[in-house]
Symmetry: C2
Subunit: 339 residues, 2 copies
C-alpha cells in the first residue's frame, strides 16, 4: 500500500478538485491509500454522496488555510494547523507515508518542505521540475523552475542528475538528453556560471549532456531535461505557458469576429479541442520537488480534479520507482561537491 | 538628409534582402540616404535592373564577411574589411552618418559597437531592446535581451530609462508602463538584484514603474517596457518567439491530417494568414542597441527584404526623434550611479 497526503485547501478549486481527484486516483490504483488534510466538516460535506473505498481514504483535520499572499516563513512557523503544514509535518513524522500533493502557495510549500522534510543525503538544494509537452509528442522536464534563484555549477549538476533519473524512472525516457539553458549554443556562451556548468556536465557520466539549448528550441522535442537556475527556468516555463494561452485566446477572439471563420472553426472543432487539451498544462501533472527526503508534488493553483488526480499519480509513480534511493546512490558517485 | 549604413552581408538572405530592403526604404523616405557595405561587384550585380534614386545610394566596398560562428573579439580585431566592421568604423568616423543596420552576427555587432562606437555620455552599458506585439495590439520592448548577461541595479535602471524613451519617442507610447521581469509580482520576490532594482525603479521619476511582471503576462498588453538582465531577457524573448512558431507549425501539421480540417482551414485562410503575420517577428523590425553613441539596429539573421526595410525605418525614426540626446539629458538627472 502506498500512502499519500493530499492538501485539500489553498488552491482555486478547493476542496472540490482535490477531493474528486483523490477519489478518481483511488479508483484507478488499488494499492493507493490517501490522507486528505483540511477542515474535517468541509471535507466530510464534500465527500457526501460520493462513492469511494473508505478503507483507503482518511481525513486529517487541519482547519487553517495558507493564503497565496502570506509570507512563506510566517506560514511555516505560525500555521501548523493549516492543511499544508499539517501534511508536511505528518509526512516527516510517519515512515509509512510516501509523499504529498498540494495546489496551495508555492512559496510556503517549498519553504515548509525544505525546513521540515530535509533532503536526500548528498543533495545540496532540492529543485522544482515541471513537465511540458513537446511538438513531437515527447515530454521535457525543466529543473530548476523556481526553488533556487541563486545557484552554483555544483547545484546545476545535481539538478541534471535528479531530473534525468526522474524522466527515465517516472516517464520511461531512455537515456534522457540533457541540455543547459543558455543564450547561445556554443560552449563559451553565457556568464561564468553557464561556462563552468557546461564543463562540469561534460565530465558527468550520469548525465547524457548534449550541450547548450537556446530557449526557442524548448518545444522542439530534441531535449528531455533542461537544466537552469530557478530564475531563468521560471521565465522559460511561464513564458511558454503564457504565450500558448494568449495565442489560443487570440485565435478564439478572431474566430468569433466573422461568420465564415465560425463556420470553418465548426469543421475543425475536434482539432481545436485537441490543441486546447495539448496545451493545457493541467494534463501533464504538477511540478515535482526533486531532492527532498520524501515525495512532494505541487499542482497549479488553478488545478481541477483531473489535474490533482495526475499529481497524485505522479507522487505514486515516484514512490513506486524508488526514485529517491536512485538519486541518493547516483549523487554519491560525485563526492567532491561544493556548497 | 539622414544617412544610414546597411551591412549587406552576414545574414541568411544576403545580399538580396538588404539591397531590396534598402531600395524600398529609399522610395518611402525622400530624405533618406543609404550606404551599402559589402563586396562591390556582388552589390552592383544585385542592384542591376532595379529602380532607385542612385544619388541617395552609395556602395562602400568591403569584401570580407563575418560568419556567425566567428569569435566576436577576433572578428572585430581581424576583419576590418568586412561589411560589418567597415560600417561600424565609418559610423564612428563620419559625423554626418546617423546609424547602421545589420543582419549579421549579433556577438560581433555588439562587441564592435561597444569597442568602436563608445557610449552616450553617462550610460554604463548599452543594451538590446527588441519589440514584440501584444494581444491588445500594442507593443512591448524588452531591455536588455542579451547584450549584458551580468548586471547591477544601476544598469537595470538605465535600461528602464532608455527603453521608456525609445517606446515614447519612436512608437509614440504615452508614459510607457515599465515592469521588472521577476519570478512573482510581490516587491520582495526574486534575488537581491531584483529586490534592489525594484526599490531603485520606485525612486526614478523618469520611469513609470508599475512593479514586477511574471513572464506569463508578457503579451497581455499591460506593459510597454520590460526590464531584465540580458540572460533572462533573452530567455523571455526567444521562448515567446519559439513557442509561437512551434504552435503555428503544429496547427499546420494538424490541419493537413484530415480533409475536413483542410476544408475548415480554407474558410479561415485569411484569418490564419493574419495570425501568421501577427506572429511574424519580421514585421516588427529589429532589436535596437540603446546607449551607443550612434544608432545601431540588429535585424534577425533570417530577415527578408521587408524586415530589413523595417530596421532601416527604425534607425531613421530613432535619429529623427533625437533619441540619443534625450537619453543623455535624462540620464544626467541621476548622477549617483555605480558601475
Amino acid at each position: 500500500m502506498i500512502k499519500i497526503l493530499v492538501d485539500c485547501f489553498g488552491g482555486d478549486h478547493c476542496p472540490e478538485a482535490p477531493v474528486s481527484g483523490a477519489i478518481a486516483a483511488l479508483e484507478k490504483n488499488p494499492d493507493l491509500h490517501l490522507l486528505l488534510t483540511g477542515d474535517e466538516n468541509l471535507l466530510k460535506k464534500e465527500l457526501e454522496g460520493k462513492h469511494y473505498d473508505s478503507s483507503r481514504l482518511e481525513i486529517i483535520h487541519a482547519p487553517e488555510v495558507i493564503g497565496c499572499d502570506e509570507k512563506p516563513t510566517d506560514a511555516v512557523r505560525l500555521k501548523r494547523n493549516s492543511s499544508m503544514m499539517k501534511a508536511i509535518i505528518m509526512l516527516r513524522d510517519c515512515d509509512d507515508i510516501a509523499g504529498m500533493v498540494s495546489t496551495g502557495s508555492t512559496g510556503a510549500l517549498v519553504t515548509g518542505a525544505l525546513v521540515r522534510l530535509g533532503r536526500i543525503p548528498g543533495i545540496i538544494r532540492p529543485a522544482f521540475c515541471p513537465i511540458l509537452p513537446t511538438m513531437d509528442g515527447s515530454l521535457v522536464g525543466i529543473c530548476d523552475s523556481g526553488a533556487n534563484v541563486e545557484v552554483t555549477p555544483a547545484h546545476l549538476r545535481q539538478f541534471a542528475i535528479m531530473a534525468s533519473l526522474y524522466m527515465s524512472n517516472v516517464y520511461g525516457v531512455n537515456s534522457p538528453r540533457v541540455a543547459l539553458l543558455n543564450v547561445g549554443k556554443e560552449a563559451e556562451k553565457g556568464d561564468e556560471l553557464r561556462q563552468e556548468t557546461y564543463k562540469l556536465l561534460q565530465e558527468t557520466p550520469s548525465v547524457n549532456f548534449v550541450g547548450n539549448m537556446e530557449s526557442r528550441d524548448l518545444l522542439s522535442g530534441n531535449y528531455h531535461v533542461i537544466v537552469a537556475d530557478g530564475f531563468s527556468g521560471n521565465v522559460l516555463v511561464k513564458t511558454t505557458e503564457g504565450t500558448a494561452l494568449q495565442l489560443l485566446k487570440k485565435l478564439k477572439t478572431d474566430i468569433y469576429s466573422r461568420t465564415v471563420y465560425k463556420l470553418g472553426a465548426l469543421l475543425m472543432k475536434k482539432m481545436f479541442q485537441e490543441e486546447k487539451e495539448f496545451m493545457n498544462y493541467q494534463n501533464y501533472g504538477g511540478s515535482v520537488l526533486l531532492g527532498t527526503s520524501k515525495v512532494v508534488v505541487k499542482g497549479h493553483g488553478s488545478s481541477k480534479a483531473s489535474a490533482v488526480e495526475k499529481c497524485i499519480e505522479q507522487a505514486y509513480r515516484m514512490q513506486l520507482s524508488g526514485l529517491s534511493e536512485k538519486i541518493e546512490s547516483e549523487i554519491a558517485r560525485y563526492e567532491h561537491y561544493e556548497d
